[in-house]
Symmetry: C2
Subunit: 473 residues, 2 copies
């Protein structure tokens, strides 16, 4: 990790880090006026919704701003207010949505309907972007009725333990993670959720202490006493941290192994070569088709692009399916005999793209296939099949060194695009992707794929892989 200049040559990395962290912390701390303004908006939101609830005799139990706007842990350039409307658990789900919608519309400007697990509304209130999220006012956070019902308990737990110094470190940590592109638990990012950051900072106190610990973490990382892991963990879990208000839940389930590894490596790299760049917005990365074609020519590989229509899904539902489709397509290429070098995917507003890079875009015309060992009953039908007139045989049948039969089959489809065109209709790509894919899928070599923003994004993932702090190559 010796690629970044060490900055001031007399200063130790630890001293430099302290100086940098202090400066950045100051820069991002909201002013007292700012905090007062947010507090006023919180109070106004609650009052406004209570009036609206009375007006339509809504069974609203409680309204509160939770999340970073409630605790001051927000980043100044990215303040969204999460406003929770809690209803009695007895209220049917359909009514919960109707009531939430009606109240949100009563108080928000230009409300827009959104979906996560759960419909919510986004609009503006006194100039701030506000997400109005309906939920149930439950008594036991380990038995939520919707995915958001635990949030008030999270808020309560954090407020009870956070100090102003800790809140400042949470902001610093969010900035560090955002710079690495791993802040946010949405399916597209697979990074650290805000609540996860706050819990981890309660445990370690400061970002610096967290980084010192993280530099020697090994996957999977357990931030809980051994034996206290939440049950039924998926096999590729990266970080295990039980929810403070529901110990059976892993707060870090959205964090991918790749992103936790990036954090571990980033921690080590930052501690050796601290600089303010580690707290800046990540540079948007893209790679034009022309530059990509040049790279592919230098790499002497071949890139195919599968383009499918985008189904009407929100990103959080779409991305896991798109990644599944990417895996299925890359695995199919490998199964067909291609040497897969890499793959990538991207979603645009209308199209989904999956890119596959292979060592050779065209297979040899022969495929070696094993037959049964001599003496088995299957030998007869194997020989009959492969000596029949018109059998697509290049060589054989013959006996291999180990005594099994073998045959060399002539391939009919040899180009990656042709092989994928045949295979994709029978692949399981993702619940909502497969049916559409069969009909309106386009498969082309990279040179024939029309330029688009999503292509540029997928190309940088495929051909621009590099630890972000090393800079572009």
């Amino acid at each position: 990790m010796s690629v970044m200049p060490a900055g001031r040559s007399r200063e130790s990395p630890a001293a430099a880090a302290q100086r940098i962290e202090t400066r950045v912390r100051e820069r991002i701390t909201p002013s007292p006026e700012e905090l007062a303004r947010v507090a006023r908006v919180r109070a106004d939101l609650v009052r406004a919704v209570q009036l609206a609830a009375e007006a339509r005799k809504s069974p609203l139990t409680r309204a509160l701003v939770a999340g970073s706007a409630a605790r001051g842990t927000f980043l100044r350039d990215r303040l969204d207010i999460d406003f929770f409307l809690l209803f009695p658990p007895e209220l049917p789900r359909a009514q919960l949505e109707t009531e939430g919608l009606a109240l949100a519309e009563a108080i928000l400007t230009k409300p827009e309907r959104k979906y996560a697990e759960h419909p919510y509304l986004r609009g503006t209130f006194q100039g701030y972007t506000v997400d109005v999220v309906p939920g149930y006012a439950i008594g036991d956070p380990s038995k939520p009725l919707t995915a958001v019902d635990r949030t008030p308990f999270h808020d309560e737990h954090l407020r009870a333990h956070q100090t102003p110094a800790n809140v400042a470190e949470v902001r610093l940590a969010k900035l560090f993670l955002r710079s690495l592109g791993i802040y946010g638990s949405e399916a597209r990012t697979e990074g650290f959720s805000g609540y996860l950051v706050e819990l981890v900072l309660l445990q370690f106190g400061t970002l610096h202490a967290l980084l010192e610990a993280a530099r020697s973490w090994r996957l999977p990382v357990r931030l809980c006493p051994p034996g206290k892991e939440p049950p039924r963990l998926p096999p590729d879990v990266a970080l295990i941290l039980p929810d403070a208000v529901d110990p059976n839940r892993n707060v870090a389930s959205a964090l991918s192994p790749r992103n936790l590894a990036l954090f571990i490596l980033g921690a080590a790299a930052y501690l050796e070569h601290p600089s303010e760049e580690w707290f800046e917005l990540p540079k948007p990365r893209h790679l034009s088709r022309a530059d990509a074609l040049e790279r592919v020519a230098r790499r002497a590989t071949h890139v195919s692009v599968v383009e499918m229509p985008r189904p009407a899904l929100v990103d959080d539902t779409l991305y896991p399916q798109l990644r599944k489709a990417e895996r299925a397509i890359a695995e199919e290429a490998a199964r067909a005999g291609f040497e897969v070098v890499g793959s990538a995917c991207a979603a645009g507003s209308a199209a989904l793209l999956v890119l596959v890079e292979v060592a050779h875009g065209r297979l040899s015309a022969v495929r070696v296939q094993d037959g049964p060992p001599a003496g088995l009953d299957r030998v007869g039908s194997f020989l009959e099949k492969w000596t029949a007139p018109g059998a697509p045989v290049s060589q054989g049948p013959y006996v291999r060194e180990d005594g099994r039969l073998g045959i060399e089959v002539r391939r009919t489809e040899r180009d990656l695009e042709a092989v994928l065109a045949v295979a994709i209709p029978r692949l399981s790509l993702g619940k909502d992707i497969s049916p559409a894919a069969a009909e309106r899928t386009q498969i082309r070599g990279l040179a024939d794929q029309p330029e688009s923003l999503e292509l540029d994004r997928a190309l940088v993932d495929l051909l621009g892989k590099r630890l972000p702090w090393l800079g572009p190559r």
Copy 2:
């Protein structure tokens, strides 16, 4: 197994087989005159060598013709007489050779020195080719001093059990095996030794009964009661049959799995479609370079030829080394990233050839390499190595999905010939092949390889693989 015409349509395969076997058996049975002539030669040989031994006061204990010429199990067109000269076990090895040589020279015309495990002399006597083999007159066949000392015991055992009918079946079986190219236990053939054929025929009585049994054999085949296998069998043993005179020895150790499997498949094919072709000399097979290049073009593959000088070794010593060299070279190609379709080898009088067929003769310019998982100490040196100026990096370092580091390395050598030229000097090819290989090895694409008989033979092994009874393709 339905590719051969069934011959006479009214006749059952079993009846046809019986008719064919009877006719072939008659055709190859030596005439009484022939047998009498061989018997006379046997007696003359013994008398001649006894006179020579007296003349030079040689410590000869016993002289006998053993092998097929002694028992009448020879093939008429291939009668070599094996003449054994047995000396006292006390005689030093060097003297054994001197005495054997002297006596052979006294009785043979144009004697020529040969080596197997053991030096012997080949010459003619009364118009017959005779191999004069010195050995020790031992008392216990399980404790031989040289590889040939068991032979008189084999002879005795077979004579004690064989009937004239059985002898006729041995000849028929040898013809069947020779037609398949799997008769002979020399290293080049890896087939059935004469002694193995005779022992197996003692057990099964007739070739037909043997074939009926063999059609459902599965490798490895045990022709001895379970638990009675000879100890210390190599892992890839095909057939286990203890020596009748030394049960710790496997008579079938020279038989390769491939050749036993070919016998099993041939047995089934013959019994379904018997014909006299199964007892004819195998057609010599070769494939010209021009035809091979045409096939390679159709297969869309690439063939490289490694040519090395032939060391001064007899075939039995050379072939195992040559096959080891073939394996080592093919494995190296695979390790370097080539998709190996097949390989072959051949020895000429001056040159050894190893052929490797790959799906693509030129690799992509990138090679994906795994790095350590984040958090290990090795991460630092991995990153240092691959971010150093001039490191041959195509892409990376980056974090893979599973949290390990990865790097894509630029390849320097990409053609199979270039890769093998770099690798071969450090490969272990075979005890007597390696040193010569490093200096005078030529590696060329098939189109650039000069034509030769051994090339044609290797090419048919590489590109003409097919069960022999199916005919050429």
